[in-house]
Protein backbone atom coordinates (compact mmCIF):
# COMPACT_ATOMS: atom_id res chain seq x y z
CA UNK A 1 0.00 0.00 0.00
CA UNK A 2 1.46 3.31 -1.01
CA UNK A 3 1.45 6.18 1.43
CA UNK A 4 -0.15 9.51 0.56
CA UNK A 5 0.50 12.74 2.34
CA UNK A 6 -1.27 16.05 1.84
CA UNK A 7 1.19 18.84 2.61
CA UNK A 8 -0.22 22.27 3.39
CA UNK A 9 3.04 24.05 4.22
CA UNK A 10 6.36 24.06 2.40
CA UNK A 11 8.10 22.93 5.58
CA UNK A 12 5.83 19.91 5.83
CA UNK A 13 6.37 19.01 2.15
CA UNK A 14 10.17 19.25 2.40
CA UNK A 15 10.26 17.19 5.60
CA UNK A 16 8.09 14.54 3.97
CA UNK A 17 10.34 14.41 0.89
CA UNK A 18 13.34 14.03 3.17
CA UNK A 19 11.81 11.05 4.94
CA UNK A 20 11.63 8.61 2.02
CA UNK A 21 10.86 8.17 -1.65
CA UNK A 22 7.85 10.23 -2.67
CA UNK A 23 6.32 11.30 -5.93
CA UNK A 24 5.27 14.96 -5.97
CA UNK A 25 1.80 15.76 -7.25
CA UNK A 26 0.64 19.36 -7.76
CA UNK A 27 -2.52 19.77 -9.89
CA UNK A 28 -2.13 16.12 -10.84
CA UNK A 29 -3.72 16.56 -14.27
CA UNK A 30 -0.87 14.78 -16.08
CA UNK A 31 0.20 12.43 -13.28
CA UNK A 32 -3.33 11.15 -12.92
CA UNK A 33 -3.57 10.15 -16.57
CA UNK A 34 -0.10 8.63 -16.66
CA UNK A 35 -1.00 6.44 -13.67
CA UNK A 36 -4.70 5.94 -14.28
CA UNK A 37 -6.41 2.66 -13.54
CA UNK A 38 -9.99 1.63 -14.19
CA UNK A 39 -12.92 3.97 -13.62
CA UNK A 40 -13.84 3.96 -9.96
CA UNK A 41 -10.38 2.84 -8.85
CA UNK A 42 -7.83 5.07 -7.12
CA UNK A 43 -4.99 6.41 -9.24
CA UNK A 44 -2.43 3.61 -9.44
CA UNK A 45 0.70 5.28 -8.11
CA UNK A 46 3.51 2.82 -7.51
CA UNK A 47 5.39 5.17 -5.18
CA UNK A 48 4.35 7.14 -2.14
CA UNK A 49 2.77 10.46 -3.03
CA UNK A 50 3.05 13.89 -1.51
CA UNK A 51 0.34 16.30 -2.62
CA UNK A 52 1.51 19.91 -2.69
CA UNK A 53 -1.23 21.88 -4.46
CA UNK A 54 -2.75 23.14 -1.21
CA UNK A 55 0.47 24.88 -0.12
CA UNK A 56 -0.84 28.44 -0.26
CA UNK A 57 2.51 30.08 0.44
CA UNK A 58 3.74 28.91 -2.99
CA UNK A 59 0.74 30.36 -4.83
CA UNK A 60 2.08 33.75 -5.94
CA UNK A 61 3.35 35.87 -8.80
CA UNK A 62 5.87 38.47 -7.64
CA UNK A 63 8.23 40.76 -9.45
CA UNK A 64 11.16 43.05 -8.87
CA UNK A 65 13.11 45.18 -11.34
CA UNK A 66 14.77 42.23 -13.05
CA UNK A 67 12.57 39.16 -12.69
CA UNK A 68 9.09 37.75 -12.38
CA UNK A 69 8.79 34.97 -9.77
CA UNK A 70 6.05 32.36 -10.03
CA UNK A 71 5.44 30.06 -7.06
CA UNK A 72 5.18 26.32 -7.60
CA UNK A 73 1.49 26.00 -6.81
CA UNK A 74 0.38 28.99 -8.90
CA UNK A 75 -2.31 27.72 -11.28
CA UNK A 76 -1.99 28.26 -15.02
CA UNK A 77 -5.23 30.28 -15.05
CA UNK A 78 -3.82 32.61 -12.36
CA UNK A 79 -0.80 33.28 -14.58
CA UNK A 80 -3.07 33.82 -17.59
CA UNK A 81 -5.05 36.48 -15.72
CA UNK A 82 -2.05 38.12 -14.05
CA UNK A 83 -0.87 41.59 -15.02
CA UNK A 84 2.80 40.95 -14.37
CA UNK A 85 3.35 37.55 -15.99
CA UNK A 86 5.39 37.73 -19.23
CA UNK A 87 3.22 38.18 -22.30
CA UNK A 88 4.86 35.30 -24.19
CA UNK A 89 3.99 32.93 -21.37
CA UNK A 90 0.41 34.19 -21.20
CA UNK A 91 -0.04 33.69 -24.95
CA UNK A 92 1.16 30.10 -24.57
CA UNK A 93 -1.01 29.30 -21.54
CA UNK A 94 -4.02 30.67 -23.41
CA UNK A 95 -3.66 27.70 -25.79
CA UNK A 96 -2.96 25.09 -23.10
CA UNK A 97 -5.79 22.62 -22.29
CA UNK A 98 -9.06 24.32 -21.27
CA UNK A 99 -10.23 26.45 -18.32
CA UNK A 100 -11.04 23.39 -16.13
CA UNK A 101 -7.51 22.03 -16.36
CA UNK A 102 -5.91 25.49 -16.12
CA UNK A 103 -7.64 26.10 -12.79
CA UNK A 104 -5.76 23.20 -11.16
CA UNK A 105 -2.66 22.58 -13.29
CA UNK A 106 0.54 24.46 -12.48
CA UNK A 107 3.47 25.84 -14.44
CA UNK A 108 5.92 24.01 -12.17
CA UNK A 109 4.03 20.79 -12.90
CA UNK A 110 4.32 21.31 -16.64
CA UNK A 111 8.08 21.77 -16.18
CA UNK A 112 8.50 18.72 -13.94
CA UNK A 113 6.49 16.62 -16.38
CA UNK A 114 9.27 17.36 -18.91
CA UNK A 115 7.32 16.31 -21.97
CA UNK A 116 8.96 17.26 -25.29
CA UNK A 117 5.50 18.63 -26.20
CA UNK A 118 5.10 20.68 -23.00
CA UNK A 119 3.94 24.01 -24.37
CA UNK A 120 5.10 26.25 -21.54
CA UNK A 121 8.66 24.92 -21.86
CA UNK A 122 9.15 26.44 -25.30
CA UNK A 123 8.43 29.89 -23.86
CA UNK A 124 10.49 29.32 -20.73
CA UNK A 125 13.53 28.32 -22.84
CA UNK A 126 13.24 31.52 -24.90
CA UNK A 127 12.79 33.60 -21.75
CA UNK A 128 15.88 32.02 -20.10
CA UNK A 129 13.84 30.97 -17.07
CA UNK A 130 15.42 29.37 -14.02
CA UNK A 131 14.01 26.82 -11.61
CA UNK A 132 14.39 27.05 -7.86
CA UNK A 133 14.78 23.62 -6.23
CA UNK A 134 14.52 23.35 -2.47
CA UNK A 135 15.21 20.61 0.05
CA UNK A 136 15.23 20.76 3.85
CA UNK A 137 18.84 21.89 3.89
CA UNK A 138 19.53 23.42 0.49
CA UNK A 139 18.23 25.80 -2.16
CA UNK A 140 19.65 25.89 -5.65
CA UNK A 141 18.74 27.63 -8.86
CA UNK A 142 19.09 25.83 -12.19
CA UNK A 143 18.57 27.13 -15.72
CA UNK A 144 15.64 25.46 -17.45
CA UNK A 145 17.84 24.07 -20.23
CA UNK A 146 19.96 22.29 -17.60
CA UNK A 147 17.02 21.29 -15.44
CA UNK A 148 15.37 19.36 -18.26
CA UNK A 149 17.65 16.50 -19.22
CA UNK A 150 15.53 14.41 -21.54
CA UNK A 151 12.09 12.96 -22.08
CA UNK A 152 10.53 13.06 -18.56
CA UNK A 153 14.02 13.39 -17.06
CA UNK A 154 14.75 16.30 -14.75
CA UNK A 155 17.58 17.41 -12.49
CA UNK A 156 15.67 17.03 -9.22
CA UNK A 157 16.95 15.05 -6.26
CA UNK A 158 14.55 12.80 -4.38
CA UNK A 159 14.44 15.14 -1.38
CA UNK A 160 13.92 18.26 -3.48
CA UNK A 161 10.92 19.99 -4.99
CA UNK A 162 10.49 22.90 -7.38
CA UNK A 163 9.39 25.90 -5.34
CA UNK A 164 9.62 28.73 -7.84
CA UNK A 165 10.11 29.63 -11.49
CA UNK A 166 12.17 32.77 -12.10
CA UNK A 167 11.76 34.59 -15.39
CA UNK A 168 14.05 37.52 -16.33
CA UNK A 169 12.17 40.57 -17.64
CA UNK A 170 12.99 41.41 -21.21
CA UNK A 171 11.54 43.59 -23.93
CA UNK A 172 11.33 42.06 -27.38
CA UNK A 173 10.41 44.06 -30.47
CA UNK A 174 8.40 41.13 -31.69
CA UNK A 175 7.56 37.63 -30.59
CA UNK A 176 5.51 34.81 -32.02
CA UNK A 177 4.05 31.68 -30.44
CA UNK A 178 2.73 29.08 -32.80
CA UNK A 179 1.15 25.87 -31.62
CA UNK A 180 0.47 23.39 -34.39
CA UNK A 181 -2.43 21.25 -33.20
CA UNK A 182 -5.80 20.07 -34.49
CA UNK A 183 -7.73 22.65 -32.45
CA UNK A 184 -7.01 25.73 -30.33
CA UNK A 185 -7.95 24.23 -26.95
CA UNK A 186 -7.69 20.78 -25.42
CA UNK A 187 -5.01 19.60 -27.81
CA UNK A 188 -1.45 18.37 -27.44
CA UNK A 189 0.99 20.00 -29.85
CA UNK A 190 2.18 18.25 -32.99
CA UNK A 191 4.91 20.83 -32.62
CA UNK A 192 5.26 24.32 -31.20
CA UNK A 193 7.45 27.34 -31.89
CA UNK A 194 8.44 30.52 -30.09
CA UNK A 195 10.46 33.19 -31.85
CA UNK A 196 11.52 36.46 -30.23
CA UNK A 197 13.60 39.27 -31.65
CA UNK A 198 14.80 42.68 -30.50
CA UNK A 199 15.61 45.12 -33.24
CA UNK A 200 17.12 48.56 -32.62
CA UNK A 201 18.03 51.01 -35.39
CA UNK A 202 17.47 48.27 -37.94
CA UNK A 203 20.00 46.02 -36.19
CA UNK A 204 19.29 42.60 -34.67
CA UNK A 205 20.21 43.04 -30.98
CA UNK A 206 18.77 39.74 -29.81
CA UNK A 207 17.33 36.71 -31.56
CA UNK A 208 15.87 33.65 -29.85
CA UNK A 209 13.99 30.69 -31.25
CA UNK A 210 12.77 27.49 -29.60
CA UNK A 211 10.87 24.49 -30.92
CA UNK A 212 8.80 21.93 -29.03
CA UNK A 213 8.10 18.30 -29.97
CA UNK A 214 10.83 18.08 -32.62
CA UNK A 215 13.53 16.67 -30.35
CA UNK A 216 13.86 14.92 -26.96
CA UNK A 217 13.81 18.27 -25.19
CA UNK A 218 12.84 21.74 -26.34
CA UNK A 219 15.27 22.71 -29.09
CA UNK A 220 17.02 26.04 -28.69
CA UNK A 221 20.42 26.69 -30.30
CA UNK A 222 22.03 29.76 -28.78
CA UNK A 223 25.16 29.29 -30.86
CA UNK A 224 23.11 29.59 -34.05
CA UNK A 225 21.19 32.59 -32.73
CA UNK A 226 24.38 34.46 -31.81
CA UNK A 227 25.74 34.13 -35.38
CA UNK A 228 23.02 36.48 -36.60
CA UNK A 229 23.06 39.03 -33.78
CA UNK A 230 24.52 42.34 -34.95
CA UNK A 231 23.32 41.92 -38.53
CA UNK A 232 20.90 44.35 -40.10
CA UNK A 233 17.39 43.07 -40.48
CA UNK A 234 17.95 43.00 -44.26
CA UNK A 235 21.06 40.86 -43.88
CA UNK A 236 19.18 38.51 -41.54
CA UNK A 237 16.46 37.98 -44.14
CA UNK A 238 19.02 37.50 -46.92
CA UNK A 239 20.57 34.75 -44.82
CA UNK A 240 17.34 32.79 -44.47
CA UNK A 241 18.59 29.77 -46.43
CA UNK A 242 21.68 29.62 -44.18
CA UNK A 243 19.54 29.83 -41.06
CA UNK A 244 17.34 26.98 -42.29
CA UNK A 245 20.47 24.97 -43.07
CA UNK A 246 21.82 25.70 -39.55
CA UNK A 247 18.72 24.27 -37.91
CA UNK A 248 18.07 21.47 -40.37
CA UNK A 249 20.31 18.83 -38.79
CA UNK A 250 19.17 19.53 -35.23
CA UNK A 251 15.46 19.04 -35.85
CA UNK A 252 14.92 15.32 -35.25
CA UNK A 253 11.24 14.67 -34.61
CA UNK A 254 9.59 11.28 -34.18
CA UNK A 255 6.48 9.58 -35.58
CA UNK A 256 3.66 9.21 -33.09
CA UNK A 257 -0.14 9.26 -32.95
CA UNK A 258 -0.25 13.04 -33.28
CA UNK A 259 1.98 13.54 -36.31
CA UNK A 260 4.95 12.21 -38.27
CA UNK A 261 8.60 13.14 -38.68
CA UNK A 262 8.36 14.54 -42.19
CA UNK A 263 5.46 16.85 -41.36
CA UNK A 264 6.99 18.01 -38.09
CA UNK A 265 10.35 18.77 -39.65
CA UNK A 266 8.94 20.65 -42.64
CA UNK A 267 6.55 22.72 -40.53
CA UNK A 268 9.32 23.50 -38.01
CA UNK A 269 11.54 24.87 -40.78
CA UNK A 270 8.59 26.77 -42.29
CA UNK A 271 7.86 28.40 -38.92
CA UNK A 272 11.48 29.53 -38.54
CA UNK A 273 11.41 30.95 -42.06
CA UNK A 274 8.08 32.67 -41.55
CA UNK A 275 9.23 34.24 -38.29
CA UNK A 276 12.48 35.60 -39.78
CA UNK A 277 10.92 36.86 -42.99
CA UNK A 278 8.14 38.73 -41.16
CA UNK A 279 10.51 40.32 -38.62
Amino acid sequence: MVESHIAKTLEDALKTLNSGKFRIVAGGTDMLIQNRSHTGMPIGYKDNVVYINLINELDYIKEDEDNVYIGATTRLETILKSENAPKILKNIIHEMAGPGIRHTATLAGNIANASPAGDSLVGLYVLDASIKCQSVDNTRIVKIKDFIQGVRKIDLKSNEMITEVMIPKYDFSRFVFKKVAPRLSDAISKLSFVGAIRIEDNEVKDLRMALGAVYMTVLRKEDIESKYIGQSIGELKNNIELIIEDYNSFIKPIDDQRSNKEYRKQVALNLIKDFIMKS
Binding site: V2, I6, G27, L32, V49, Y51, S185, D186
Partner: protein
Amino acid sequence: MTEIKFKLNGKEQTLNTDPNRRLLDVLREDFKLTGSKEGCGEGECGACSVLLNKQIVNSCSVPLANVDGQDIVTIEGFSKTKEYQVIKDSFATAGGVQCGFCTPGMIIATQSLLNTKPRPNDYEIKIGLSGNLCRCTGYNLIIKSVKLAAKDGDGLW
Protein backbone atom coordinates in the same frame (compact mmCIF):
# COMPACT_ATOMS: atom_id res chain seq x y z
CA MET B 1 -6.84 5.96 4.38
CA THR B 2 -6.81 9.64 5.07
CA GLU B 3 -9.41 11.94 6.52
CA ILE B 4 -10.55 14.40 3.89
CA LYS B 5 -12.93 17.23 4.75
CA PHE B 6 -14.56 19.44 2.22
CA LYS B 7 -17.69 21.44 1.59
CA LEU B 8 -19.97 19.75 -0.94
CA ASN B 9 -22.97 21.67 -2.22
CA GLY B 10 -22.92 23.84 0.89
CA LYS B 11 -22.61 21.00 3.42
CA GLU B 12 -19.44 20.02 5.30
CA GLN B 13 -18.44 16.42 4.57
CA THR B 14 -15.79 14.20 6.11
CA LEU B 15 -14.55 11.05 4.38
CA ASN B 16 -12.07 8.43 5.47
CA THR B 17 -10.80 7.21 2.17
CA ASP B 18 -7.93 6.91 -0.27
CA PRO B 19 -6.82 10.44 -1.27
CA ASN B 20 -5.61 9.02 -4.59
CA ARG B 21 -9.21 8.54 -5.73
CA ARG B 22 -10.54 10.86 -8.40
CA LEU B 23 -13.01 13.51 -7.27
CA LEU B 24 -15.39 12.32 -10.02
CA ASP B 25 -15.54 8.78 -8.60
CA VAL B 26 -16.16 10.06 -5.07
CA LEU B 27 -18.99 12.30 -6.25
CA ARG B 28 -20.68 9.60 -8.31
CA GLU B 29 -20.12 6.60 -6.03
CA ASP B 30 -19.99 7.88 -2.44
CA PHE B 31 -22.51 10.69 -2.86
CA LYS B 32 -24.54 9.32 -5.79
CA LEU B 33 -24.22 12.70 -7.52
CA THR B 34 -24.38 11.40 -11.06
CA GLY B 35 -24.91 14.72 -12.83
CA SER B 36 -21.15 14.89 -13.39
CA LYS B 37 -20.39 12.42 -16.18
CA GLU B 38 -17.28 10.58 -17.20
CA GLY B 39 -16.68 11.23 -20.89
CA CYS B 40 -13.03 11.02 -21.85
CA GLY B 41 -11.56 10.56 -18.37
CA GLU B 42 -8.57 12.71 -19.22
CA GLY B 43 -9.65 16.31 -18.87
CA GLU B 44 -10.55 17.01 -22.46
CA CYS B 45 -14.34 16.77 -22.77
CA GLY B 46 -15.61 18.68 -19.71
CA ALA B 47 -18.55 16.33 -19.02
CA CYS B 48 -17.27 15.90 -15.44
CA SER B 49 -17.00 19.66 -14.75
CA VAL B 50 -17.71 20.89 -11.22
CA LEU B 51 -16.97 24.15 -9.41
CA LEU B 52 -13.94 24.14 -7.11
CA ASN B 53 -13.88 27.38 -5.12
CA LYS B 54 -16.33 28.79 -7.70
CA GLN B 55 -14.11 27.94 -10.68
CA ILE B 56 -14.61 25.18 -13.21
CA VAL B 57 -12.39 22.08 -12.87
CA ASN B 58 -12.49 18.66 -14.52
CA SER B 59 -13.39 16.35 -11.62
CA CYS B 60 -11.92 13.35 -13.50
CA SER B 61 -8.52 15.05 -13.28
CA VAL B 62 -8.66 16.17 -9.65
CA PRO B 63 -7.28 13.82 -7.01
CA LEU B 64 -9.43 13.85 -3.87
CA ALA B 65 -6.37 14.99 -1.89
CA ASN B 66 -6.53 18.33 -3.69
CA VAL B 67 -10.02 19.18 -2.43
CA ASP B 68 -9.21 18.85 1.27
CA GLY B 69 -10.64 21.95 2.94
CA GLN B 70 -12.02 23.28 -0.34
CA ASP B 71 -15.50 24.14 -1.60
CA ILE B 72 -17.09 21.91 -4.27
CA VAL B 73 -20.37 22.59 -6.05
CA THR B 74 -21.76 20.02 -8.49
CA ILE B 75 -24.59 20.53 -10.97
CA GLU B 76 -26.98 19.13 -8.31
CA GLY B 77 -25.98 21.80 -5.79
CA PHE B 78 -25.84 24.52 -8.41
CA SER B 79 -29.40 23.65 -9.56
CA LYS B 80 -30.74 25.21 -6.34
CA THR B 81 -29.50 28.70 -7.24
CA LYS B 82 -31.04 31.67 -9.06
CA GLU B 83 -28.13 31.69 -11.49
CA TYR B 84 -28.95 28.12 -12.49
CA GLN B 85 -32.58 29.00 -13.21
CA VAL B 86 -31.48 31.72 -15.62
CA ILE B 87 -28.90 29.53 -17.36
CA LYS B 88 -31.29 26.55 -17.56
CA ASP B 89 -34.07 28.67 -19.07
CA SER B 90 -31.73 30.25 -21.59
CA PHE B 91 -30.40 26.84 -22.70
CA ALA B 92 -34.01 25.63 -23.11
CA THR B 93 -35.11 28.75 -24.98
CA ALA B 94 -32.12 29.03 -27.30
CA GLY B 95 -31.88 25.29 -28.01
CA GLY B 96 -28.54 24.70 -26.30
CA VAL B 97 -29.49 21.13 -25.32
CA GLN B 98 -29.86 18.09 -27.54
CA CYS B 99 -28.81 14.71 -26.12
CA GLY B 100 -27.95 16.33 -22.79
CA PHE B 101 -24.76 14.43 -21.90
CA CYS B 102 -22.55 17.53 -22.05
CA THR B 103 -25.19 19.85 -20.57
CA PRO B 104 -24.29 19.67 -16.85
CA GLY B 105 -20.69 20.49 -17.81
CA MET B 106 -21.77 23.26 -20.17
CA ILE B 107 -23.89 24.83 -17.43
CA ILE B 108 -21.02 24.65 -14.92
CA ALA B 109 -18.71 26.21 -17.55
CA THR B 110 -21.26 28.97 -18.19
CA GLN B 111 -21.50 29.74 -14.48
CA SER B 112 -17.70 29.79 -14.10
CA LEU B 113 -17.43 32.15 -17.09
CA LEU B 114 -20.21 34.53 -16.02
CA ASN B 115 -18.76 34.66 -12.52
CA THR B 116 -15.64 36.33 -13.87
CA LYS B 117 -17.08 37.92 -17.02
CA PRO B 118 -20.77 38.78 -16.54
CA ARG B 119 -21.06 40.25 -20.05
CA PRO B 120 -18.89 38.08 -22.28
CA ASN B 121 -18.51 38.62 -26.01
CA ASP B 122 -18.61 35.71 -28.48
CA TYR B 123 -14.86 35.15 -28.28
CA GLU B 124 -14.85 35.10 -24.49
CA ILE B 125 -17.75 32.62 -24.52
CA LYS B 126 -15.82 30.34 -26.88
CA ILE B 127 -12.76 30.47 -24.61
CA GLY B 128 -14.90 29.95 -21.51
CA LEU B 129 -16.51 26.83 -23.02
CA SER B 130 -13.38 25.62 -24.81
CA GLY B 131 -12.86 22.73 -22.40
CA ASN B 132 -16.35 21.34 -23.01
CA LEU B 133 -17.17 19.20 -26.00
CA CYS B 134 -20.65 18.82 -27.50
CA ARG B 135 -21.27 16.36 -30.34
CA CYS B 136 -24.85 17.44 -31.10
CA THR B 137 -25.41 21.16 -31.26
CA GLY B 138 -22.45 22.39 -33.28
CA TYR B 139 -21.91 24.92 -30.45
CA ASN B 140 -23.66 27.89 -32.08
CA LEU B 141 -26.84 27.29 -30.10
CA ILE B 142 -24.85 26.92 -26.89
CA ILE B 143 -23.07 30.22 -27.51
CA LYS B 144 -26.48 31.77 -28.14
CA SER B 145 -27.74 30.26 -24.86
CA VAL B 146 -24.86 31.76 -22.87
CA LYS B 147 -25.45 35.17 -24.43
CA LEU B 148 -29.13 34.96 -23.53
CA ALA B 149 -28.26 33.95 -19.96
CA ALA B 150 -25.93 36.93 -19.61
CA LYS B 151 -28.67 39.22 -20.89
CA ASP B 152 -31.57 37.77 -18.88
CA GLY B 153 -29.51 37.44 -15.72
CA ASP B 154 -27.80 40.82 -16.01
CA GLY B 155 -26.94 41.94 -12.48
CA LEU B 156 -26.95 38.42 -11.00
CA TRP B 157 -23.23 37.90 -11.56
